[in-house]
């Protein structure tokens, strides 16, 4: 938590200082008010006092009240600005940091967790600042000041107040001790309820087909009961809180009066009146003491949540970036070559290598395809080129230079990457296809149109209401999967990269579109090097080089025809998709 507050700027601290001064002023005013109140009460009580006296004191009291209001408004202004500004800066910092994280780190955190960290967690911390800042400053000042005002006005009363504060704090303490660990469990159970319901919804056909409704119902009811009883316990515990608070507050007043009655009775006649007015003052200040301790307790109640959030934010901010960019600007003599030299790869904490000793080279204008069964490592291999991961051993060279030496911008300028799952952003078709920067000038509408044409998307884009200005909804939900994929391919084409990387990008397309698209692409980008990961034999039939992977090892390199003869694994894959005759005819 404290680490996070290091992000506060000098300006923030002047804000805090101003707030503190104003709050001191406010507390002073607020503690003045009971004095005026008792004066007014006394004036009203004594017969024959003049209305003007009441008016004057009333006026003073209103001045105090008004002053406190104004100062509260100013403090409110500063503290909200402080909190909003803090959260704004923190959000910005976190967002920029996440953009720098590598695939490995993102996987470790998980995307959804990163999202909640950037949104919810920051809001939590912001809440603490905007609500808590005032309380954290005000409560101790108020408590100390009020205590000073009453400390020498009666030992017995002070002891009583102390006891009340003690009871208050221990009640809250015990409750927190009991309930807080259970809160975490409740959160888990809510997640579980969500989980089971999600299961029931997504698996509705399976459940019905298996007549498993009652099976699922019992699973749901189990969680439902657990959740309910946990919630019941928590809330029943918490239900004690308010009555106890009220009892303490009321009890304190009553206790002060009760003790006061005895004290006054035993006092000398000369001190009785002073004692009485002390009693009245004490009861109102005693209340202030209690309520400031209550405020402190409240801070301690929101503190744990905020501090968990703060830790989660810090975790991200303090993550070391494992993939650091080099300083090579990308001016190479060679163009369009990709070379793997004895590349092996494993995840940092894993024992097993996912890729072993991969070596190959592609030249400008060539197409290389990678094929293999699920888990053979073909996607992993291709991910080493845009540095989603770095090779554990060996070197990945682009245009003769190790990818680790490139500035990331320079490296990316050479690449056109298309992922298996099409990713589109909110915005127009044009925005999506012209996304990003490629080190050249901004991609024009003409270029976008051309790219979409090559990607076989012209037909559907031009059918849309606003054609290239048509709006793509969040996540591209308003167009079909195949259409999404075509646009994401167009996005790569529009960049005019030296090297294309298609990570199983054609699977979402039907055979026909797949074939035409690749034909057009080849015509359009004669000089570009193409790396394709594919499942369909049909997609890679005509590649210049096919790399066959099996359990992370290269078991064959060559053309389709060569591999059919030389590589058993390849032949197996091919035969699983096409019949013998078809293979020969192709």
């Amino acid at each position: 938590m404290l680490k996070l507050f290091k992000n506060l700027t000098k300006k923030d601290f002047t804000y805090i200082l101003t707030c503190t001064i104003l709050i001191v002023f406010q507390v002073w005013l607020e503690l003045r008010m009971p004095d005026y109140m008792s004066t007014i009460t006394r004036l009203v009580e004594t017969e024959g006092s003049r209305i003007t006296d009441i008016l004057i004191n009333g006026g003073y009291m209103m001045l105090c009240a008004f002053g406190s209001l104004i100062s509260a408004i100013i403090v409110g202004y500063f503290s909200t600005h402080l909190a909003s500004n803090f959260s704004k800066n923190l959000r910005n910092k976190l967002f920029s940091k996440v953009l720098k994280l590598s695939t490995k780190e993102i996987k470790e955190f998980s995307t959804s967790s990163l999202i909640t960290r950037t949104t919810n967690d920051i809001t939590q911390v912001e809440m603490l600042l905007s609500m808590g800042l005032q309380m954290i400053i005000k409560a101790p000042i108020m408590a100390v000041w009020a205590i000073f005002k009453i400390i020498n006005k009666g030992l017995e009363w002070s002891i009583l107040t102390g006891v009340c504060v003690l009871i208050l704090l221990s009640t809250i303490g015990i409750l927190m001790k009991i309930v807080i660990p259970r809160f975490a469990r409740v959160q888990k159970l809510i997640d579980q309820i969500n989980g089971v319901t999600r299961e029931n919804l997504t698996g509705i056909r399976v459940i019905r087909a298996f007549n498993a409704e009652s099976f699922q119902k019992s699973r749901f009811e189990q969680t439902n009961s657990d959740l309910t009883s946990m919630q019941l316990f928590n809330q029943r515990c918490f239900a004690i809180m308010q009555p106890v608070m009220m009892l303490i507050m009321n009890g304190l007043t009553l206790g002060i009066y009760f003790i006061g009655a005895f004290l006054i009775e035993e006092a000398l006649i000369s001190t009785k009146i002073t004692l009485f007015s002390n009693m009245v003052v004490f009861s109102s200040y005693g209340m202030q003491v209690i309520s400031s301790f209550l405020m402190l307790a409240m801070i301690f109640m929101i503190l744990p949540r905020a501090s968990i959030s703060a830790n989660r934010i810090n975790e991200v901010l303090l993550t070391d970036e494992t993939i650091k960019e080099g300083d090579f600007d990308g001016n190479t003599k060679e163009e369009g070559t990709v070379e793997f030299k004895n590349v092996s790869f494993k995840y940092p904490d894993a024992d097993e290598y996912l890729l072993k000793n991969i070596t190959f080279k592609v030249n400008k204008g060539e197409t290389i395809a990678f094929i293999g069964s699920t888990g053979s490592g073909k996607s992993t291999l291709i991910n080493l080129v845009p540095r989603f991961y770095d090779a554990t051993d060996g070197e990945v060279l682009i245009d003769g230079v190790n990818v680790k030496d490139y500035k990331s911008e320079a490296l990316n300028n050479k690449l056109g990457y298309v992922s298996q799952k099409a990713v589109l952003f909110t915005g127009s078709v044009y925005d999506n296809v012209s996304f990003g920067e490629n080190g050249k000038e901004k991609i024009s509408l003409e270029q976008v149109k051309e790219a979409v044409r090559v990607a076989q998307g012209s037909e559907f884009v031009e059918k849309m209401a606003d054609t290239y200005d048509a709006h793509i909804a969040r996540g591209g939900t308003n167009i079909s999967g195949g259409q999404k994929q075509r646009l994401s391919i167009a996005r790569a084409i529009a960049r005019k990269p030296e090297i294309y990387i298609f990570d199983d990008a054609f699977s979402a397309l039907d055979y026909k579109t797949d074939a035409t698209l690749r034909k057009e692409l080849k015509n359009y980008t004669k000089d570009a090097t193409i790396l394709i990961v594919a499942q369909r034999i049909g997609t890679i039939l005509n590649a210049d080089k096919i790399v066959v992977l099996d359990h992370g090892e290269m078991v064959g390199v060559g053309t389709h025809k060569e591999l059919l003869k030389t590589c058993a694994v390849y032949k197996e894959i091919a035969l699983s998709q096409l019949s013998k005759e078809e293979l020969e005819n192709a």
Partner: protein, 717 residues
């Protein structure tokens, strides 16, 4: 304190009264507890209204013991001179003259005073003279007197007179403290301690009772709201099972989910908090108004008027801030959406060098959010100080007007004290009522969403169906007779479809994505009701079979690899409780997933959860294994192997072939290689069955199927 719920927008319900009524109706099972807690809430509010009066009584009682009883002093003052009548002085003159204890000096002083006394008749002067009589003389002159049953000795009288000598002001309190004990006892003000004790015990008991009631009330309400929430969740979950699949076509999972959690939570929480608050506040509010008007009309109007000024001011701010609140909510939504989008597409953002622009865009959104945040938070933060101010304003106004009234003898002082408390009681509930009402508004809105879901049309009832097909006796014929079906009334998807499938045949349904292949499965499984025509299973119309019966006849493996949170074993066994562990292991071997399971910690007992260790292909194999255990006469494979790579698929399909042996099976696939050997291929496009026949027949037709089939071999060159 009227702090609007941060981050939560008050949603307006469409029919507030209707929804609240329905919510309350649903609370019927807890009628007793609910009535109890409402009664208790009213009760504690009434106690809260009573206690201030008692407390001021206590104050009054204590006040009795503050001011010394100076009237007693007066009485003593009057009594002492009475002893010095002319006759008594003369009587004692001799004693004084002869007394050896009295010094001559004193005797002379006394005679001088006597002379002066004889010349005056004024009591005041007489008393002043008497004080100057020397003590020694007084000792002779005075005798013990009795005032209010207290005997005051001569010595005490002398001390008293001497004290009076030293001061002109009889009420000088410090002098009072040195009074001789007998007189002190008389003068000393005394608090009726017994009365104090009784009052304190009474008030303390009231506080205790009130606290106890408060707790019982909260306890009951918590119980009600949580049990109610549980019931709602169960109803929603049950409802999911009886809704036609059609419902889920037009409703998102997230929507139903948020009803189960968010909406139900909202209802439970608000019922818990607002109901009691509302009842208590209303009672306090009305009670304080009644109390005020019965005590003093003018003061009541003053108090209400001064508070109202504050409330007008506050509602102005509130309505103004509402705008910023919805703006903040909107900006927050935009921001979160943007973050989600960027994080999910991070690889693309990075590889396309979109980082710079993403940060730029983010900053614009962030600035907007900052602005809306500042304004809405600031305005909502104003509420508390303003409320305090209103309270103080009311206080001063009541004191001023009250004092005026006291002067004109229209009211007594006690009325003002009572009013000061009533003002507090009046202003606090108002804001709480406003808050509770807005909370109930959102409760009603949430209730509407829940009830709307619960009111959705359910699957048709099957109670009248008595036919039953035993899955062990079914031969396996299926006949489609003039089947017509459309998901909506407007668009018919399947028009007059006829086909007969014989036992053990393999039927394939092919076509591009979105062609409606799954529709056939939906009809077979009676997930949807056909509009016209009939499907006969072993000659029995599916209209005459329960859905449950039909489901026992089919073994179905779907494209989405649906697994629940549990162990592998639990997932494969699912609801088929009579399946032995051995059978499960055999099924795993069949689909070739046994090696993988062995590598997992715990083997079959390994937990399946969202992690990377199990690929979608492996998940699919689990679902196939699950399907295998069902031993049903019909088999439906809906893209069952789409997530498995082609080599694994080969392995699986050999297992499948074994599985399909003797069973009538329906296979949906987009990999055409898998279905070439089907007995009948149904080719679908845009929702229609456009071609039917075997592979060879369809290839000869040179129609859609042939094109579809050949497209996979089209080469680039």
């Amino acid at each position: 304190m009227p702090r609007p719920n941060r981050g939560m927008q008050t949603e307006k319900s469409k029919d507030f009264v209707g929804s609240m009524k329905r919510l309350l109706k649903n609370l019927n099972p807890w009628k007793f507890l609910l009535t109890l807690s409402i009664c208790l809430a009213i009760f504690s509010a009434i106690i809260a209204l009573i206690t201030p009066n008692q407390l001021s009584k206590l104050t009054d009682t204590i006040t009795k013991g503050i001011t010394p009883q100076t009237d007693k002093l007066q009485m003593i003052r009057e009594q002492i001179p009475k002893q010095l009548k002319q006759s008594t002085i003369e009587e004692k003159m001799y004693t004084i003259a002869t007394s050896l204890e009295i010094e001559n000096e004193d005797k002379m002083a006394f005679s001088r005073i006597l002379e002066k006394m004889e010349q005056t008749a004024d009591d005041q002067t007489l008393f002043a003279l008497m004080i100057q009589i020397p003590d020694s003389v007084l000792r002779v002159l005075l005798e013990d007197i009795t005032v209010e049953k207290t005997i005051i000795s001569v010595e005490d009288q002398i001390t008293f007179l001497n004290l009076l000598k030293e001061t002109n002001n009889e009420n000088d309190l410090e002098k009072l403290d040195s009074l001789p004990p007998s007189i002190y006892q008389l003068v000393k003000p005394s608090i009726p301690i017994n009365e104090v004790k009784i009052l304190a015990i009474f008030i303390g008991t009231l506080y205790l009772i009130s606290a106890l009631f408060h707790y019982i009330e909260s306890f009951s309400l918590t119980t009600i709201s949580n049990k109610f929430a549980k019931k709602l969740r169960t109803s929603i979950s049950d409802k999911i099972n009886v809704l036609p699949l059609k419902y889920f076509d037009n409703h998102e999972t997230g929507d139903v989910l948020s009803r189960v959690t968010n909406d139900v939570d909202m209802i439970a929480q608000n019922l818990n908090n607002s109901l009691a608050t509302l009842v208590t506040s209303l009672t306090l509010f009305i009670g304080s108004i009644i109390m005020m008007f019965t005590t003093s009309g003018i003061l009541a109007i003053t108090a209400i008027f001064s508070s109202l000024i504050g409330f007008v001011f506050m509602s102005l701010i509130l309505s103004h801030s509402q705008k910023y609140f919805s703006r903040r909510q909107k900006e927050l939504g935009n921001m979160n959406g943007y973050i989600e989008e960027m994080y999910s597409g991070l690889t693309i953002v990075k590889t396309y060098n979109g980082t710079k622009k993403a940060i730029q865009e983010f900053n614009t959104l962030n600035d907007k959010l900052y602005d809306a945040n500042c304004k809405s938070q600031f305005l909502s933060g104003l509420m508390m100080p303003i409320m305090n101010f209103v309270g103080n304003l009311g206080y001063v106004a009541v004191c001023l007007v009250g004092a005026l009234l006291v002067q004109k003898n229209l009211i007594t002082f006690g009325v003002i004290i009572a009013f000061i408390i009533y003002v507090r009681m009046f202003t606090n509930p108002l804001s709480q009522i406003a808050q509770a009402m807005s909370a109930l508004q959102s409760t009603a809105a949430a209730g509407e969403r829940v009830f709307e879901f619960l009111d959705e049309e359910e699957l048709t009832s099957e109670k009248q169906i008595t036919n039953y097909l035993d899955k062990n006796k079914v031969k396996g014929t299926i006949e489609f007779k003039n089947v017509r079906f459309g998901y909506t009334d407007k668009k018919t998807i399947i028009n007059n479809f006829n086909a007969k499938v014989h036992p053990g045949e393999k039927i394939a349904i092919v076509g591009p994505t979105g062609a409606g292949k799954t529709t056939m499965v939906n009809l077979l499984m009676k997930f949807y009701e056909i509009n016209e025509g009939d499907i006969l299973i072993d000659g029995v119309s599916i209209h005459n079979l329960t859905r449950e019966n039909i489901h026992t006849l089919f073994c179905m493996v779907l494209q989405d690899t649906w697994l629940f949170d549990g162990t592998i074993q639990e997932n494969i066994r699912f609801n088929q409780e009579n399946v032995s562990d051995e059978e499960i292991w055999n099924a795993c071997k069949y689909v070739g997933i046994d090696h993988f399971i062995k590598t997992l910690p715990g083997g079959l007992n390994a937990k399946l959860s969202d992690n990377d260790t199990v690929s979608s292909g492996q998940k699919q194999l689990f679902t196939i294994a699950r399907g295998m255990l069902e031993h049903a006469p019909f088999l439906i494979l809906d893209e069952a192997t789409s997530n498995v790579d082609t080599r694994t698929e080969e392995l699986v399909s050999s297992a499948m072939d074994k599985l399909m042996k003797g069973k009538t099976s329906f296979i949906i696939a987009h990999r055409l290689s898998t279905i070439k050997n089907a007995d009948l291929i149904l080719v679908m496009n845009e929702g229609n069955i456009i071609e039917t026949g075997t592979h060879e027949e369809l290839m000869k037709q040179k129609g859609f199927y042939e094109k579809l089939y050949n497209s996979q071999f089209e080469s680039i060159s």
